[in-house]
Amino acid sequence: MAETAIQLLTPEGTRVEHPDYPLEVSAEQLRTMYRDIAITRRMDVESTALQRTGELSLWCPTLGQEGVQVGAGHAMRPGDYGFTTYRESGIFHVRGVEADELLQLYRGNTHSSWDPQRVGLGLFTIVIGSHALHAVGYAMGIQRDGTDDAVLACFGDGATSTGDVHEAMVFAAAFSSPVVFLVQNNQWAISVPVERQSRVPIAQRALAYGMPGIRIDGNDVLAGLAVTRTLLDRAREGGGPALIEAITYRMGPHTTSDDPTRYRDESDYAHWDELDPLERLRRHLLLIGEADEVFFAAVEAECEELGEKVRGSIRGMPDPDPMLMFDAVYAEPHRDVEADRAQMGAYFTRLQESA
């Protein structure tokens, strides 16, 4: 297993070839990915601001991790299905979930603001690691359907300490299911550093389950694209599951409720700043002469425009009808839910009468 992380694009912006992960990528694709990272980042900033002005309950910043997210998002085929965490706005953007759609969840307006069937992304489970099981279950379903889709299961370094992730890997390996586990090792699980989660590189654990474990530079969008695509294709062709450990860094707080200065040193940031995914792609585009300042300025303007649009649509969003919460608990009517609905309805009526 490679101890050093696979890198296809250096922090200085030069392309590196890797024998196992050849990558043909057009200038158009490179510019698209640049734009995707830039928009994801701009939406991240706007979401934090919206939370700080009382418009969102919470936000989980993606800052710093957009490289692997955008790369992996592009590696998925339309029919593939992703099970993600709450810190995955890069993948959501690439799969066509606009920020104002995603943010309804963080505003507390709904439990699911996107259509999982349309975009092929499952709902978040805030219970860390549990969706790894859902991912493997889905992958086992694909095997029974006999299609050639594959599943991407995304979670963090901290999640690898959960029993659910362990069980998921055991099942995936035992059934040779078409699933790729993408661990974004952002060095932290809230305030717990990754050294506390694993004595060995997380990728090394994969060998024990009987699947390849590959470390990649998580701030390299091209490594994210090439390695995820290769392993998803391997999985869909019957090659079984694999694990990717993307080395990256959570540049922001864990959530808007968190204050990272309490547990980590600001001097860490400089190192990761050097490895920034957006900046390195920008350097690359400039180096190969496939983008100029006009292009970058246009992207920035587009980002600003989108920021304004999202702000406007979130601020104008009315509170939902509270009775909606009973609608999608089960596919079919359920006695207990109906009882709860009736009770809540009666409560609102009383409330209005007494107002």
Partner: protein, 413 residues
Amino acid sequence: MTATHVLDFPLPDVGEGLTEAEIVTWRVAVGDLVEINQPIVDIETAKAVVELPCPFSGRVSALLVAEGQVVPVGTPILSVEVSSPAEPLPHSESREAVLVGYGVAHGTTRRRRLTSRAAPRPSAPAPVVAGRPIAKPPVRLLARQLGIDLALVAPTGPHGDITRDDVQRAVTPLVEARPVRGERIPVRGVRRAMAEAMVRSMSTAPHVTEWLDVDVTGTVRLVDQMRDHAAFAGMKPTPLTVVAAAMIHAAKRTPIVNSSWIDLPDGSSEIEVYSHMNLGVAVASDRGLVVPNVRDAGSLSVSGLARALGELTQRARRGDLTPADSVEGTITVTNVGVFGVDGGTPILVPGEAVILATGRIVDRPWVSDGGLCVRPVMQLSLSFDHRIVDGAAGSTFLADVAAFLEAPPITLA
């Protein structure tokens, strides 16, 4: 003049269910032009210091809260004069958040009106739950450190569990509210263990105590002989040595005294009669009562007993005993004679069936062979667990010990 409006910025809940924040530093002043998302103020909440961005662009017309002030969520903190009719801020009520990692702090949450039906914490303490009190390990540790018996603490936790606060409350009335009337001795360590053992014993085993006076002339003579005997060189044989030998001897005829009552998980019980005897000796140390035992005392010769008892009491006096010395005793003797008294009603070591107390040896008038004489007399007090030992067995054992002490069947070569 263009039409302008003044918009207020209410303090948002920047955490998950925070109720208030302190205004730490204003980054803008009245008259400043501000842009949307421009940092305007640093605030400190229970969780973090955060920077708030401005939701409007315009000119600052007022800072409504001074630095250093703590204000509730929802309080207008800043007024901005805007020229274009901006999207009005929807009425900002405190909202409860999706939890990603941090729980909402209890007691500080101002819930939205509609969610205020969440069951309130019971204000009256819930009834004390029977059996082992429920408390998390850190709470148990705290209770131990504070010397609080969890069985006596009223739980208020959501699952009938004892919380940290409950433990603190249990301390407060004892320590804080009571007027100082003298020295307070903390009940810890050996003292605490003794207290717990006594309570446990008295509340589980029905105690019966019997007495018997013994003419110990033979014992006193034997101890004198031992002191001069080569086999006991370097040892300090005492009447306790002979008492120990007497107990070993008497227990052979009445093995039930060397046993334990055991409650099984299925609700039934059984008596375990031991095939070995670990003879405990109650020793008063300066830290409290300890009961180290002589392992497998039944297999020792009299000189072996004398040596083992000597070592034990010496180590006890030096404070060298370890907890291991005091576990797995099967029967106990306590010499209350050293305190100048005759007897008492000794309390069983929890799990043991009998305990023998020996009184002082004192010359008394004694009737022997129909005539009055003066003899060294010692009183024996035997307590036994009446679940295990009935009156007949207890009396037989006591009489056998007495007979042994009156005429020890030991000849020194």
